[in-house]
Amino acid sequence: MLLRLFLSTLLAIFVYPLSAEEPITPIQPPVSLSEAKVRLGELLFHDVRLSRDNSISCAQCHNLATNGSDSLPSSIGIAGQKGEVKSPTVYNSTLNFMQFWDGRARTLEQQAGMPIHNPIEMDSNWQEVIGKLNADRAFSNQFSKTYPDGFTPENISDALVSFERSLMTVNSPFDRWLQGDKAALSEDAEQGYALFKGYGCISCHQGQNVGGNMFAYMGSVVDYFGQLDRQLRPSDMGRFNVTGRESDKFLFKVPSLRLAALQKYFFHDASADSLPQAVRVMAKHQLGRDVSEQDVTKIVAFLESLVGYHPRLKAE
């Protein structure tokens, strides 16, 4: 066992440069995070006072134990309001180049306040939230130790983001494989990775987060929305909702596939409810291809190897 660890370490050192050639890179554990800020962010993340009626917290839609998201087609805000899109995972969200499906927030700091103000989510505002938090003398004192100017939108966001930065799922089998632990992947998974690249999935799902760093049209080869038996919703416009540019219609942020294996629903509209189906939908509409079930299985095996570890994330 020790020998193996030693060997893997050696391999990690010598093989890493090679693996750097791969379009997917291992998730790096977070560095230089303030423990106090993370702790405060965690408290805020689970604090229902961030919602108008103190009914929900961030964790409501971003269940850290399951997959950093909920297992619903669309999230439920205060007073049971339903959102239009499926909530993305909060894990590894720092690696995304923009936030939300349409990338309407550049950074997590910008993102943090948006659900609070969103009428169908928390339906509150900074003034209200800060008022409530200040009323909690103990929490206020604790918070002021780290943030001398107390609760401000910036400080609350910073704490939340600090916490979110800590939510990295590291040491996934695939990452270990990338770092030279060839035994970390099953044959299927390894073949699945080859297929992932060969089919061209990799064109969009690359980088540490296996996605999350570019936009792509939903149905870039074969029309997606046309074949749906439902009306188009505003959220289906994707990036267009942010830029207003005609060419940005149906353009969405490519989601991370890191925890895809833990998801129940897929795509912004949760139109797929299993990973193989999602793979097939992607192959059809993004690549214009049919994928054999055998390949789907292998790709799914690969995708499963992308799931890393985090103390809050319950291993299945």
């Binding site: 791969e22 379009p23 890179t25 690696l95 061209g200 980088g207 540490q208």
Partner: protein, 949 residues
Amino acid sequence: MKHKYSSSISIQLFLLAVVAGLLVYFYQLNNLNSEQHSKRINVLLAAKDLDAKFDQVALQILTSTMKQYDSLLELYDRMDQLELQLSREQGLLHDTHTDIVVSGEKLSVLLTEKLALIERLKTQSAIVRNGFLYLPTLSEELYNHPFHEIEHPDSYVTALFAFRDYGSSSSREELAEKLKSIEHWVKQHPHDRMMSNFLLHIEASLKGQRKLYQLRDQFIEVPSKVTFQDLHERYQAYHRESVKQTQLLSFKLMAACLVLVIFLIVILRRLDKSRVTAEQASNRLHDAVGSLQEGFALFAADGSLVLSNQRWAELYDLSRQQHQLTLQLYQAEREQSAVSRTTHTDRDSGLSYTLEQLNNNRWVQASDVETSDGGLVCVRTDITQQREDSEKLRIASVVFETTQEGIITTDAERRIQAVNPAFCRISGYPEKELLGNKPSMLRSGQHNETFYDTMWGHINNDGAWAGEVWNRRKDGSIYPQWLSVNAVQDESGEIVQYIAVVTDISERKAQEEQIHFQAYYDALTSLPNRALLLDRLEHDLKLSKRNELMGALLFIDLDRFKRINDTMGHELGDKLLIQVAERLKDVIRSSDTIARFGGDEFVILLSEIQDPQQAAVVAEKVVSTLSQPFELNGYDVFTGASIGIALSPSDSHSAVELLRLADLAMYKAKEMGRNQFHFFAQSMQDKVNRRVELEHKLRSALSENQFQVYYQPIVNLETGSVYGVEALLRWFHPEEGMISPVEFIPVAEETGMIASIGEWVLEQACHDIAMLQQQYPQLHLSVNLSTRQYHLGFDIHRLNKAIAQTGIAKGSLTLEITESILLEEDKEVMAWLNSFKQEGVQLSVDDFGTGYSSLSYLKRFPISILKIDRSFVSDINRDQEAVLLVDAIISMARSLKMQVIAEGVEDSEQLQTLNSLGCDNVQGFHFSKPIPCSELQQWLQQSADLIKG
């Protein structure tokens, strides 16, 4: 003052503005500093760099050499930052020119556009890449397709690659041409999924590539480079302009500095000048204030002391706290130091002032005036002197008006200026008639011109004259006045005024005469008294000196006047004196003076006599007339006169001395038996001198052991043996040798020294004899006792003390007293003598026979021994009377059981006679002269041997 303030304020404001302006200049300069510039340049460089990075990334995407896009995250951060830095409001360029800001913003927009294009390139490139990835598979699937016969499927792929790689429109059209046949096939075979799928992908790839190229072209067309260039140039131009402006500003600044410096120099010079002026003014002010007679203080509005002088501090005794004096402190001090305070208003100026009496007894006129700036000017005039002067004037005026003395003042020409009521009263003239006239109108005609000339001469030369002047009243009567005139001179010594004070002395003159009489005449006899006598005597002496005339002074003392006065009463005594005076007046010439000198003493001054005999005649007359009986209250009273005469100038030139000499001579006359006169002789003076000399020497004799006790043996005639010795005092003066007791004993008695001398003799004699009594127990000792010793306190206690100290046998001691003591007939003296007798001491009477003692006298006294005077013994063999007298004495003594000692026995004849008369004891030179104790011892031995032998 206010104007000056405002101008100074405006100068200050101007300077402030200049400084503020310079600061703004500096700020502007600072604004253009290199830091700002380099920041902007850095932003420009960052923009350029980001642009280049965008280009690089775009190229990598287009060439599919970028495997994953994580690295692009950083570009977003950079773009965010750049966008902020180039933003219109907060960017680094916002304070430059608008065109630069616009250009910068444009660049930012363009770069954002480029990033957006990169994003789209990513998306598009993925689509294209994936298309190409599928093409080989597609191509392979079509190998066995019937269409394969028309054209090999790879040719489409090849054409696609060609289009991808060269992107020329020809290759695209060629491919489009090729696709037409497929499209045609697909139309003809609608169910051929494979072929339609192939067409779909080829067309999609073509479309995708076209779109990609469009995007690429869009990207390339973004004029970021040009914009950057434009921005850069604009900024450079702006910077150059700024630098230029900076230089210009620097020049302006330098110029401003220069102006400011010059301005400051001018101001400094002005300040200096005004400071000097102010200092001079201040010094002048200080000097002026310091030299003020008045106390001066200036307080500022806040109560602080601005200026004050020494006088001020002295008035309020503030010197110790002057340096910190405030108005409040001063006012407190003022409250404390003021005894009284009254407010007045000046009649002329209408200003009010306060009169204060301070506790240091000074009067101060205080006037406080507020200054225009709220301060207080305090002026204190010390009017103590003025008050005193005015008070003096007031008093002088009252004195002038009310004094009993008449006062006239005249001007230098002696015209009357003022007279007081008293003068009007004295002179009888009303004031009106006197003013303007000369005092000469008052002349009485009693004095001649010379008198007045002398008077004015004194006044003008000495400044004053006083004397008696007779004036005439208005009613014509004349009166004596005491006139005192003073000349008043001005500073140059010129006489400007005369002041005369006039006292009517008519009454006083009368009084004076009365007083003069009282002073110079005896009230009882109306004769001149001692003072007038001396006056006249002095006067005569002066005259006699000049005229070489002789004068005589007769000093008359009434005999027995005291006795008459005591026995008949003072009233009678006074009558006697009056009668004596009357009789004396009859004796002398009118030119002579009789004076009552005091008590019963009269003095007659005979002026201008030619011969002393004349004095003797007068004296004879006086003695004669006064020896006649006086009739007083029906009695004939006899008195008499002893007269001493001194002559001038032969005896003395001095009045007092003459009187003394006459007195001395009078005593001589009295000594000689009264009722006679005696001229003064020099021997009298000598005797007096000798007496004084002796007294002087006597005072030191006892302490210097000049005395010795000698002893003369007394021999018993019956046994022939020694009865005893008489102690005799001997004085051996170191210069004079032995001085006789006859000479010094009276002096000792008069001066009282006899007390100590007598006691010394007693003690010494007792001591000596007590010693001898050890060998000769029967030896008696006689010691002389002076009557004066009784008065001087010698008593039995002293005697006992001497006896006790020496151990002499009481019974062997005899005290010798003189006959005179017995004559005093005094009970106390009797008691005194008895006290000795009672103690066992014997008493003997010395020199018996010379006095007046009678048998009856002796009987009364405790006498046990009589000593027969030597005068009888010396005559005993020549004078039968003496033998009878001695015989009588011895007989009398026997009858009184007294012993007899004969003194002065000098030869055996006398001894035999005495022996025959039955005398008990003898003493004298026949046996031994008085000898000292040591010789006495020898003598006693010899005589004892003689008897034995």
